[in-house]
Symmetry: C2
Subunit: 319 residues, 2 copies
């Protein structure tokens, strides 16, 4: 029996979580998922980590697949009452979802790092993968827009991504340290492959790469780095990716995605409706169905992405 392949995946929320779920279901993969925390914020005194929760709920089989976010079987009685009391109601917190936020806030206030809480809860929910926040330090994604500087959730949820994005910053990133588990993960011999999930590169993956040391770990690793493009047929599958690319003056193409990650990646996975090669670069390219509706879709894309990434390993590292 061969050893499992050690895979490190970088992920944002819902879109990335779909591939992360597929990766977690591969029996020959030992998975660590590094999750964006730039969207984290404090709301009504609760510490909310939207992307971590999306990944945790997806991998625990607790996501609401139809709604596309949050918990399955959710109810909204808390929201009715917080409105009655005159509390802020622009960010929806389901009754079941609240348990996660209350447990996390309490744990952190009692001194437990976010990473420890997240690992503990994932284990408790029977998740195989290690799910780690990119950092235990506070990093906050700030959108500079035509309506001024906006905290991420205010832009994303409160203003429904309507303001025009001029630039994106990651407040606190320069002094943040990568989560300790990541350094362990990259210590020799390091992972067999690194996969960048089809999350929004500008809002969900860049915050991870903005933490000093993380991009260097990826570059220094012998493992091939493969990005799965969130663009299909010149459009984003979900969310504001295409809108933001337009506002930043970028063509909504796989070329742009490849160019954005640049030397960091060794390969790109694009949708089967799109054409390889991407740009004039020597980048390895795989064209397969990347739209994920069913669990089978997620597992299939995960399988193909892992096999593609491993095929890019330098010969001396294989076998």
């Amino acid at each position: 029996m061969s050893a499992k392949r050690r895979i490190v995946a970088l992920s944002g929320g819902v879109g990335g979580a779909k591939l992360a779920q597929g990766l977690d279901m591969l029996d020959d993969v030992d998975l660590t998922i590094v999750v964006n925390t730039g969207d984290d914020f404090e709301h009504l005194g609760l510490m909310i980590s939207p992307d971590i929760d999306s990944v945790v709920y997806a991998l625990a089989g607790l996501s609401d697949v139809d709604r596309g976010w949050g918990r399955a079987d959710e109810s909204w009685h808390f929201m009715e009452e917080i409105r009655r009391l005159g509390g802020e109601d622009w960010f929806l917190l389901g009754d079941r979802d609240l348990a996660m936020h209350i447990a996390r806030t309490n744990a952190i206030r009692l001194g437990e790092p976010l990473s420890s809480f997240t690992l503990r809860i994932a284990r408790r929910l029977g998740i195989r993968a290690r799910i780690v926040p990119m950092t235990d330090d506070a990093v906050r994604t700030i959108i500079t827009s035509d309506e001024g500087r906006l905290a991420f959730q205010r832009y994303f949820v409160g203003l429904r991504c309507e303001p025009i994005v001029r630039s994106v910053d990651f407040e606190g990133a320069p002094s943040a340290r990568p989560v300790a588990e990541l350094e362990t993960e990259f210590a020799d011999p390091g992972p067999d492959a690194i996969i960048i999930c089809p999350s929004n590169p500008y809002l969900s993956i860049d915050p991870i790469l903005s933490i000093p040391g993380i991009a260097d770990m990826l570059s220094a690793s012998h493992a091939p780095v493969v990005a799965v493009s969130p663009i299909i047929g010149g459009q984003a599958v979900k969310g504001p990716t295409a809108k933001i690319m337009n506002e930043l003056g970028l063509a909504v193409t796989n070329d742009t995605i490849a160019g954005h990650y640049g030397d960091l990646i060794d390969g790109i996975v694009i949708d089967h409706g799109d054409r390889c090669p991407v740009a004039a670069s020597p980048l390895a390219c795989l064209s397969v169905p990347t739209l994920m509706h069913t669990v089978e879709d997620k597992v299939s894309l995960a399988r193909k992405t892992v096999d593609f990434a491993l095929s890019l390993s330098q010969p001396e590292r294989v076998g």
Copy 2:
């Protein structure tokens, strides 16, 4: 048109809240309710004020009358999930009820005193009465029992009042100050009557009277002080009152209740099945139905108690 009668009521949770609700429904009464906060505690990082919430929910018409505590139309999805996450589940928090605890915790963490939050929320919910905690300082009821010293909720909910009570202390009381609204209320000319609701004297009213200054305010006031006895036919209507009286070696009678309040009260209201006078004391006594099932019961007892109390006013204070 005559001015309203200014009434100050002292109350614990559910039992006292019933009479408080009746008092609040009397059109000729301007009501301030001073509520026990000795039962308050922090749970899962949330600041819970059980007696305040019982009074607020009762007066806002939001109580679950059948269950006898908590919110009407309650759901328990949060509890299911906190169990799934391995969180503490011995204290039940309903999905609707959570809104109050989260709003309160957030307000207090942001620097708002409990009294200001409580007044604000009561106004928001359309409640006429001023509902004030006995103090904004931390006072905690501690039960010394055959199983050692127990925080109140651990004894009351966690251990279902099973340990045998040896004594009751109010930690923090000696250095606590009465809530500012109370000093305003008692400033000249002061209230027209003071009513001690039929709450547990040892667990719910004593903490209020343990705050330095509050008993003195009651004694110094020209207003008659009337207690409504929680004992009916030698039994407590609800909760551990009779059990605790037994454990403290006290006879479960109205005499004991009258003796407990001693010189503080000018009159006592007992159930129509019990007999006046109480003890050999010169205490004014009114015997009327004190069991409150319906709203009509609450209003009726409130009416009779107020009229009885006002009848005890010193002649020079009347008219």
